[in-house]
């Protein structure tokens, strides 16, 4: 996987965790979990984000604002964001020097 994509996936996982902690924290706390490290997690998030190429980072922000998730898995040659077909040539291209975007919706593509 492209190192920048690896960072973007980690960033999105972290954003999901922050969102879940903020929106459903009480539910988790009711089960006995504690979230004392929330501020540190936010700092770690900023540190991770700073390692991402600025143009990709701004693309990520824009798409997250628009769709909720900027990075989506490709399953069965489909972008799971918009269900557009992803040409199989993209798969071989992922191994080279670029983070791939869906040509239809612009989401960043991840092959799980």
């Amino acid at each position: 996987m492209h190192p920048q994509l690896q960072l973007l996936v980690a960033l999105q996982d972290m954003d999901e965790m922050l969102r879940e902690t903020e929106e459903q924290g009480e539910e988790f706390e009711g089960l006995g979990f504690k979230h004392g490290g929330l501020e540190e997690l936010k700092k770690a998030r900023e540190e991770l984000a700073s390692k991402i190429d600025p143009s990709l980072a701004s693309w990520y922000r824009r798409l997250t604002g628009k769709f909720g998730h900027a990075v989506v898995p490709v399953v069965g040659n489909l972008c799971t964001g918009c269900f557009a077909n992803i040409p199989s040539s993209f798969v071989s291209k992922t191994n080279v020097n670029k983070v791939q975007k869906c040509e239809s919706c612009g989401r960043l593509l991840y092959w799980p």
Binding site: M1, Q6, V9, A10, Q12, D13, M14, E16, M17, E20, T21, Q24, E27, F28, L31, G32, F33, K34, H35, G36, G37, L38, E40, L41, A44, H69, V71, V72, P73, V75, Y110, P112
Partner: protein, 153 residues
């Protein structure tokens, strides 16, 4: 959600009867390795990073001798549960300081509209409140008897 329903998200390939780990980092690595070995899930580094972040948020060792490492990641496409036992116990930063001997690791995809993952977590936590059951789980000879003990209580 009943326990039989929760156990549908695991399998004999996702059962580690004797995890060996000297510390928390090694335990998490061992759990992720078991997950990768037992499924066709890729990208162990992403999963490990997510779990480590989750532990930094607060330890998931919330039961007596039991931890529930959990979280969402793009690296999985469906809720997957791995069960592990660590007979020697490992320091997992539990509140009471007791070593952790039993792990239920729940890894969910980002989109999970039915909130299966929180419901499964809640069902598991509820189930293991029974001290006799915890003894049975630690003593169970194999995956089948482990699951039988879980469902029978």
């Amino acid at each position: 959600m009943d326990i039989a329903e929760v156990l549908k998200h695991t399998s004999p390939d996702l059962f580690i009867p004797d995890l060996e780990a000297s510390d928390k980092t090694a335990a998490l690595a061992g759990l992720v390795e078991g997950l990768i070995t037992g499924t066709n899930i890729q990208n162990p580094d992403t999963i490990l990073q997510m779990l480590q972040s989750r532990e930094n948020l607060g330890s998931t060792a919330v039961g007596p001798g039991i931890a529930f490492p959990h979280g969402r990641t793009l690296a999985v496409q469906r809720l997957t549960i791995l069960i592990a036992r660590c007979p020697a116990g490992v320091d997992f930063d539990s509140e009471d300081g007791d070593p952790t001997k039993l792990f239920f690791m729940l890894i969910a995809p980002p989109q999970d509209t039915g909130h299966q993952y929180i419901k499964s977590l809640a069902a598991l936590i509820d189930c293991i409140q029974d001290a006799d059951l915890r003894e049975k789980l630690l003593a169970a000879g194999d995956y089948e008897s482990f699951c039988a003990a879980m469902t029978e209580g």
